[in-house]
């Protein structure tokens, strides 16, 4: 903890390794390529959930518009792929060959200016990383500089998601409308639709996810992470210790946006299209439940949350389609009421002690974290979510309304 290099303790490391084994070894061995691709898709949602752990769990900022950033990332990637798929040869039957098919149907005769740069892969990567952060920055500066938080932020981000959906659907000549950008084929001539390509993309996705997990881990173990925890408790104190609270909130919100966008870009690559349904209010809230189920303070929990919810969704809707919404609804209510710390809390309270009984003592460091030096804010905070929200509700959310 005293050195940057050791930001992952032994206990955390063991859990990173378990997750890595699960994603990189168990899943690919146990699943056929069809199921593996589905898991790959679920893992793209884990990026969003991870972003939410940072900005909601740690920063106390609940955004109901994370789908917006997921969508921006996804659309950037889709624009690049669509341009590649719309070579003049492929689109020879169109009245204007060389532009995406939906533009041709909408009487566009040349590529709109904002599509042009997406012919470059470098620019696309750049856009995926920068655009969502820039958009998040604008929202965050406007709101956090004025100390808007909590519920208001949630509702405004939800409205932004709604606006963006209507815009994308309405401007179909430029965006592909409600159908989205479909029929994406190759990346630099490499066919992304084959099983091999999907397996490779799965691993790339997994590696990127781990990259983001490490970044997130670094952030929350840094002083910035402790400051975020401190801010949720005593925003004024942090301010009067000389910190610009809004700057930290802006940073963490932008970081969450970028992480979500990476997920979105990987989604497009693995699923083969992008559509406005992932931008709207519904999916944005669903993504919050991935995070809540995993444990809003657990970065690894975000991955498990995304996997479990989506896995349940798929298997439920395969066997009992009618019951799926009941299960999903019950999950929301149950997690909030019974397990505010999600799977991570469940693990720490019930599973870890149970495991300890059966595992030799010298391996206990894998199961629980007993070294307080390693724990830092994270463990101290576990189990405290309720009370923090409580304070938050009094301090942040209602205060700015004038009380």
């Amino acid at each position: 903890m005293n050195k940057v290099g050791s930001f992952i303790g032994r206990y955390q490391l063991s859990h990173f390794i378990i997750l890595a084994l699960l994603i990189f070894v168990v899943m690919p061995l146990a699943l056929d390529s069809f199921r593996l691709n589905m898991v790959g898709k679920y893992l793209t949602y884990a990026f969003v959930a991870l972003g939410l752990v940072l900005c909601w769990g740690y920063g106390g900022i609940l955004s109901l518009g994370q789908g917006v950033f997921f969508g921006i990332g996804g659309y950037c990637m889709a624009m690049f792929l669509k341009l590649e798929a719309s070579s003049p040869e492929n689109t020879a039957i169109q009245s204007t060959p060389g532009i995406p098919d939906f533009m041709d149907w909408n009487q566009l005769t040349e590529l709109p200016w904002f599509w042009v740069p997406f012919q470059s892969f470098t620019f696309t990567i750049f856009a995926i990383l920068i655009l969502p952060a820039a958009f998040a920055f604008i929202i965050a500066v406007a709101m956090f500089k004025r100390r808007v938080g909590g519920v208001y932020f949630a509702i405004i981000t939800q409205a932004i998601a709604a606006i963006l959906t209507i815009l994308i659907i309405g401007q179909q000549g430029y965006t592909g409308g409600v159908n989205g950008i479909t029929d994406l084929r190759t990346l630099h001539g490499w066919d992304i639709r084959t099983d091999e390509a999907k397996t490779i993309l799965y691993f790339v996705n997994g590696l990127l996810l781990f990259g983001c997990l490490f970044v997130a881990r670094y952030i929350i173990k840094s002083k910035l992470g402790r400051l975020l925890v401190a801010m949720r408790e005593r925003e004024d104190r942090v301010r009067f210790s000389g910190y610009d609270v809004s700057a930290f909130k802006i940073f963490i919100f932008c970081a969450a946006a970028t992480i979500s966008a990476i997920g979105g870009a990987m989604f497009t690559l693995q699923v083969g299209f992008m559509s406005p349904t992932f931008v709207g209010t519904g999916p944005s809230i669903e993504m919050v439940i991935f995070c809540a189920l995993g444990g809003r303070l657990a970065i690894l929990g975000a991955v498990y949350g995304a996997l479990v919810v989506n896995w349940a969704k798929t298997s439920f809707s395969e066997s009992f389609p009618e019951l799926w919404l009941f299960a999903m609804g019950a999950l929301f209510i149950g997690v909030v009421m019974a397990f505010p710390n999600g799977l991570a809390g469940l693990y720490q309270t019930y599973i870890a002690p149970w495991l300890q009984k059966y595992v030799p003592e010298k391996f206990h460091w894998i199961i629980t974290n007993r070294n307080p030096e390693e724990s830092g804010a994270e463990i101290a905070v576990a189990g405290e979510t309720a009370s923090e929200d409580e304070k938050k509700s009094k301090a942040g959310e209602l205060s700015h309304a004038g009380n």
């Binding site: 903890m1 005293n2 050195k3 940057v4 670094y218 952030i219 840094s222 002083k223 910035l224 402790r226 400051l227 925890v229 401190a230 408790e233 005593r234 004024d236 104190r237 942090v238 301010r239 009067f240 210790s241 000389g242 910190y243 610009d244 609270v245 700057a247 930290f248 940073f251 307080p372 804010a377 101290a380 905070v381 405290e384």
Partner: protein, 254 residues
């Protein structure tokens, strides 16, 4: 009361408040207030409930924005600055109820208050080096918590929490320290220790204290300002203020 100050030029003051007014929907919590604090002075503000004492501190540290008037700290206008900029300028504030991070340890509380890595990048790259550890230890010893560094802050007694918050200010080494009721809820022995602590730490800085406990005020105050209905009612030495008929009327009249 103000004529005593008239012959002193503004540059001698650490803090000079002039014509300060703040109104909440027409109610003037602070009304055309002027107040001057000298270097290394311990100034205590007293006054009945609702006199605007806490509001004055809020205004100085930027928590509340002034409707009119100016607050100059070492020649810098504070009314136009954000809270954290005011802190950077050298003003530290302790709240009425101890405002510490209860989920963090004493060490972490002090470490977070250490004035390094205050921007985003700094916070990301902040490292707990020897300088930090030494400084934390030094401050902790000063606030009688040297042996409690690893204790979660919420396990401290009320008085210890007050000290911790004072320590969190000290580690920033502010030139103006503002304390809102620092001995409220403390035992008699804790009060004594606190008075001693304050006397020690105020050697090279100015202090603005709000306090109700008159004995404590008498122990520490260089000068006393009495606020009433958002205005200065009386100002001067403790003795002088205590004998001011207007002060007596306000306190007894209630």
């Amino acid at each position: 009361m103000l004529e005593t100050n008239k012959h002193i030029g503004p540059k001698d003051f650490v803090l000079s408040i002039e014509g300060l007014t703040v109104s909440f929907d027409g109610f003037k919590a602070v009304n055309d207030l002027s107040l001057y604090v000298e270097e290394q002075e311990i100034r205590v503000i007293i006054g009945p409930n609702g006199a605007g004492k806490t509001t004055v501190l809020d205004l100085i540290c930027g928590r509340t924005k002034a409707t009119e008037g100016s607050i100059k700290f070492k020649g810098k206008e504070l009314t136009k600055m954000n809270e954290h900029q005011i802190v950077h300028a050298g003003v530290g504030r302790k709240f009425q109820n101890p405002s510490i991070y209860e989920d963090l340890t004493v060490f972490e509380n002090l470490e977070l208050s250490f004035p390094r890595g205050r921007n985003v990048w700094g916070a990301l790259t902040f490292r707990r080096d020897k300088e930090v550890i030494d400084k934390v230890q030094e401050v902790a010893d000063m606030i009688f918590l040297g042996d409690k560094l690893d204790m979660p802050a919420d396990l401290l007694s009320h008085g210890q929490k007050q000290w911790l918050e004072i320590g969190m200010l000290l580690i920033q080494d502010p030139e103006l320290l503002m304390l809102d009721e620092p001995v409220a809820g403390m035992s008699v022995s804790e009060r004594k220790q606190t008075a001693e602590l304050l006397n020690r730490i105020t050697k090279d800085r100015s202090v603005l204290v709000i306090e109700h406990d008159m004995q404590f005020v008498a122990d520490i105050a260089h000068r006393v300002t009495v606020l009433h209905q958002g205005q200065v009612l009386s100002e001067g030495s403790m003795e002088r203020v205590q004998n001011d008929p207007k002060v007596i009327e306000v306190y007894l009249g209630h």
